[in-house]
C-alpha cells in the first residue's frame, strides 16, 4: 500500500453520515423522465415515438457524433410523450416520459455478451459506446472516447478513482465495499484495452473498509497497487489525482492521455462490468440521499430518470422545510429550484439542506487565501477582478478556462465572495462572445 497526500486544496468537514448504509434497490417508479442530454457533448437523437412500447435497457436515443452517447430506457413501459424538461443546471432538454407498465423485461443487448477475458479492445470500446457509459464521477464524459486516445500517446498507468473527496457523498464508497470484485475485474479489463503497465486504486483514508477490500484483491499482483490518500478536497479530480499519484502535471488545456494516464471512476467501472457481463446498459446508478434535512440518510440504486422528489421523500425528507436541494456534492453540486427534476447519470447524490450558510458579501481583502488553496494554481482574486471589470482577454490569460470550479476559493474566502460563480459567469460570457 502506498500512502500519499495532495498539496493545496482544503479539508472541509466530511459528514459522511450515510457511509454505513447498504445500497438499497430503489422501488420501481410509476414514471421516468429520461433526458436525451445527460452527457458531455452533443445530445442524443430520439429514436422512439409516442405510445411506443419499450423494454428495460432498450436504446431510445442514438449518439449524434463522436463525443456523444446513446440513452436507454431504464424501465419497461410505454412512451407517454417527448417533451422538454428542466435539468439540474437550469437548462432544458428534450426528454422521453415513459410510463411503467409492468415488471422489468430486459431488452436484448446490441453487443455480444461473452466471457470477460475473451473480449478484444475493439469489443470493449463498442460495449462502452453502445451501453451509453459515461464518466459517473461527475463530468459525464463518454467513456468510449476516453479509452480511445490517439496512438501517439501511449498510456502507461490506469488509476481507479475511488477517492470520493466531496463531503456527504458515499455512493462510490458503498459501491467499493459491496462490489469490489466487479470493479476490479472491469479495471483489469480496461488496463488490457489501453495496454497500461501499471494500475493504481486510489482511495481516501476515511474509507478503511474499501481499502481493505481492494488490498485483498490486489495481494500478489505485481501490476496493481492500492493507494491510500490522506483525505483532502479536491483530490478526486482527475488532474489532482494524476499529480498526486504519478507526479505528472496535465498541461494547460490538455487531457490525462497527454501525460500517459487514464482515470476511471469506480461507478463507471461497475457500469462497464454490468454491461460486459450481464448485458445491461447504464440505466441505474447509486445515489446518496443525505443532508441535515434527511432523517434517514441512505444509498439507493436508482433508475436514471426517477423523479428526485420521490427519492428524497423515500429517505424521509420534508420538502417544504428545506432551504436548499443540491444535485451532487456540496462543493461542486448544483443547487436546484424545484425537486421535480429527474435523476441523471451524473447525479451522485441528492442533498437536502435545512439550514444553509449565508454570509454577507464584503469587498476583497487581498488576503490571498484563495490563491493558497487553488489546486490549479490560478489566482482567483485577480481573475475575478478581471471578470467583474469585463476584461475578458486578461481573464483568459489568467486561466479562466483552466478553472475546474472545485469551489475551494469560495469556501475559504473570508469576505464570502462567490468566486466560482463569477468564474462560471466569466466562462459563459466569453463563450457567448466567441460564438456570436
Amino acid at each position: 500500500m502506498i500512502k500519499l497526500r495532495m498539496k493545496r486544496g482544503i479539508h472541509p468537514k466530511e459528514r459522511k453520515i450515510s457511509s454505513s448504509k447498504e445500497i438499497q434497490e430503489f422501488p420501481l417508479p410509476k414514471r421516468v423522465i429520461i433526458p436525451f442530454s445527460q452527457h458531455t457533448g452533443k445530445p442524443a437523437i430520439p429514436i422512439v415515438k409516442k405510445r411506443q412500447e419499450v423494454k428495460t435497457g432498450e436504446k431510445i436515443g442514438e449518439a449524434s457524433g463522436f463525443i456523444s452517447s446513446p440513452v436507454h430506457s431504464s424501465v419497461t413501459g410505454k412512451v407517454k410523450a417527448l417533451e422538454t424538461v428542466l435539468l439540474p443546471n437550469g437548462s432544458s432538454s428534450l426528454a422521453a416520459l415513459i410510463d411503467v407498465t409492468g415488471e422489468d423485461v430486459l431488452a436484448e443487448p446490441t453487443w455480444p455478451v461473452k466471457d470477460i477475458s475473451s473480449l478484444t479492445p475493439g469489443e470493449v470500446r463498442k460495449i462502452t459506446r453502445e451501453a451509453g457509459i459515461v464518466g459517473l464521477g461527475g463530468a459525464v464524459f463518454p467513456t468510449s472516447v476516453k479509452i480511445s486516445p490517439p496512438e501517439e500517446y501511449p498510456i502507461d498507468s490506469i488509476i481507479v478513482n475511488g477517492s470520493e473527496c466531496e463531503p456527504f457523498l458515499t455512493s462510490d464508497h458503498r459501491l467499493m465495499v459491496e462490489h469490489a470484485e466487479e470493479i476490479f475485474k472491469a479495471a483489469q479489463l480496461l488496463k488490457e484495452v489501453i495496454k497500461a503497465s501499471h494500475g493504481y486504486i486510489a482511495i481516501e483514508d476515511n474509507k478503511p473498509d474499501a481499502i481493505e477490500a481492494f488490498e485483498k484483491l490486489v495481494s500478489g499482483l505485481e501490476a496493481w497497487d492500492v493507494v491510500s490518500l490522506r483525505t483532502h478536497y479536491p483530490q478526486g479530480a482527475e488532474k489532482s489525482l494524476i499529480k498526486v499519484i504519478l507526479n505528472r502535471e496535465v498541461p494547460m488545456g490538455g487531457l490525462p492521455f497527454h501525460v500517459g494516464a487514464l482515470v476511471q471512476n469506480v461507478g463507471t467501472l461497475y457500469a462497464i462490468y454490468e454491461a460486459a457481463v450481464k448485458g445491461v446498459p447504464l440505466t441505474k446508478r447509486v445515489v446518496t440521499v443525505t443532508g441535515d434535512g434527511v432523517p434517514n440518510p441512505s444509498n439507493y440504486m436508482v433508475r436514471v430518470g426517477t423523479n428526485a422528489r420521490e427519492v428524497l421523500e423515500a429517505a424521509g425528507a420534508e420538502l417544504d422545510n428545506l432551504e436548499k436541494i443540491i444535485f451532487g456534492g456540496p462543493m461542486m453540486g448544483l443547487s436546484v429550484k424545484t425537486p421535480d427534476i429527474p435523476v441523471l447519470k451524473s447525479t451522485s447524490g441528492l442533498l437536502a439542506i435545512k439550514r444553509a450558510y449565508r454570509g454577507k458579501v464584503y469587498p476583497c481583502l487581498y488576503c490571498g487565501r484563495c490563491v493558497v488553496v487553488c489546486p490549479l494554481q490560478i489566482t482567483p482574486t485577480r481573475l475575478v477582478k478581471y471578470i467583474q471589470a469585463g476584461m475578458w482577454d486578461q481573464a483568459k490569460k489568467f486561466g479562466l478556462f483552466n478553472c475546474m470550479e472545485c469551489g475551494c476559493c469560495s469556501y475559504v474566502c473570508p469576505s464570502n465572495i462567490p468566486l466560482v460563480h463569477w468564474i462560471k459567469y466569466g466562462k459563459y460570457m466569453v463563450r457567448r462572445m466567441e460564438t456570436k
Binding site: A81, H421, K436
Partner: protein, 261 residues
C-alpha cells in the same frame, strides 16, 4: 570664436539637417486621407454603438467614404444623419428604416412563478448561469437589468415589477440590449411592427401554464384564426405578418400574450 556663437552654429545646423529630413519624409511618405472621412465622422452621433455593423463611428465613416457602406446605416442618427452623410458623399440618402427594441416577455415578478431565492452576483448573465435565479420559467426575463446597463441612450428602464420597458422615442434600435440579454428575449424590429406574441418560452404547454400566467401555451387558436399572420414553432406562436393577424385572434388568446402595442 566664443563658445556661445559656436554652440548656436552647431545646434542651428543640426536643426536645419533634421528639419530637411522631416520635410522630405513628409512629402515622400504622405498618406492620403479622404477629407470626407473627417466630415462624415463629425456628423455621426459618435456613440460607437455598432448598430451599423462596424465597430465604431470612425470605422463606419471610413467605410462610407470608400464606398463600402451605404449612407443610411446609422440607425441612431436616423433620416437626418443619413441626409447629411449622403450630401457629403453626393449620394441619395435612401430610406432609413426606424427600428426599436421589443422585449418579448411580460412575465414580471407578479405574473411568473419564482420557486427559489438567488443571492449571487446581481446580473442577468450570472443568474442565468446559476440555473436562472429562482424563476421557474427557463426562457423568460430575469429582471436584473443587463439590458438597462447596456443601453447608451437611456431608452430602456426597469419598471417596479422587474420588467424592462423600452421608451420608443429614445430607442435607436442599436441592438446592444438584445446582445446583452442572456436569454435572447429582446428583438430589434421595425417600429411599424406592433403586434407580437409577448412570450419566448418553448416549454411544453403544461409546464408553460405552471410557471407563468402570461405565457404562450401553444394552444394554436391564433394560428387557426389567422393562419397567414402567425405560425407555431416549437411550442411558441410567432407573428410572421402583423398585417394579417386578425382582431379575433388577438381577442381569443387565452393567456393574452398576443396583442398590439
Amino acid at each position: 570664436m566664443s563658445t556661445p556663437i559656436l554652440s548656436i552654429i552647431t545646434m542651428g545646423s543640426i536643426a536645419a539637417i533634421f528639419s530637411l529630413i522631416i520635410a522630405i519624409a513628409y512629402r515622400k511618405l504622405k498618406v492620403k486621407v479622404d477629407p470626407r472621412v473627417e466630415e462624415i465622422f463629425s456628423v455621426l452621433p459618435g456613440v460607437n454603438c455598432g448598430a451599423c455593423g462596424y465597430p465604431g463611428c470612425q470605422n463606419y465613416a471610413e467605410a462610407v467614404a470608400s464606398g463600402a457602406a451605404p449612407p443610411n446605416k446609422c440607425t441612431v442618427g436616423g433620416a437626418e444623419v443619413a441626409a447629411l452623410v449622403a450630401k457629403i458623399m453626393g449620394l441619395e440618402a435612401g430610406e432609413v428604416e426606424r427600428k426599436v427594441a421589443r422585449v418579448l416577455c411580460i412575465g414580471d415578478r407578479e405574473k411568473s412563478v419564482w420557486t427559489a431565492g438567488y443571492e449571487g452576483p446581481q446580473t442577468c448573465a450570472a443568474a442565468n448561469v446559476a440555473g436562472g435565479a429562482g424563476k421557474a420559467c427557463s426562457y423568460g426575463c430575469l429582471g436584473f437589468g443587463d439590458c438597462v446597463k447596456a443601453c447608451p441612450f437611456d431608452a430602456i428602464r426597469m419598471n417596479d415589477k422587474g420588467l424592462p420597458v423600452v421608451y420608443e422615442e429614445k430607442c435607436t434600435g442599436c441592438g446592444l440590449c438584445a446582445e446583452a440579454c442572456p436569454r435572447d428575449i429582446i428583438v430589434i424590429e421595425p417600429i411599424e411592427k406592433r403586434t407580437y406574441v409577448f412570450c419566448s418560452s418553448h416549454d411544453s404547454p403544461k409546464r408553460s401554464r405552471e410557471v407563468c400566467s402570461v405565457s404562450c401555451i401553444a394552444c394554436g387558436i391564433c394560428v387557426r384564426l389567422s393562419p397567414e399572420g402567425l405560425e407555431m414553432k416549437d411550442n411558441l406562436a410567432i407573428v410572421t405578418d402583423p398585417e394579417k393577424v386578425s382582431d379575433q385572434a388577438i381577442e381569443k388568446c387565452p393567456t393574452k400574450v398576443l396583442f398590439k402595442i
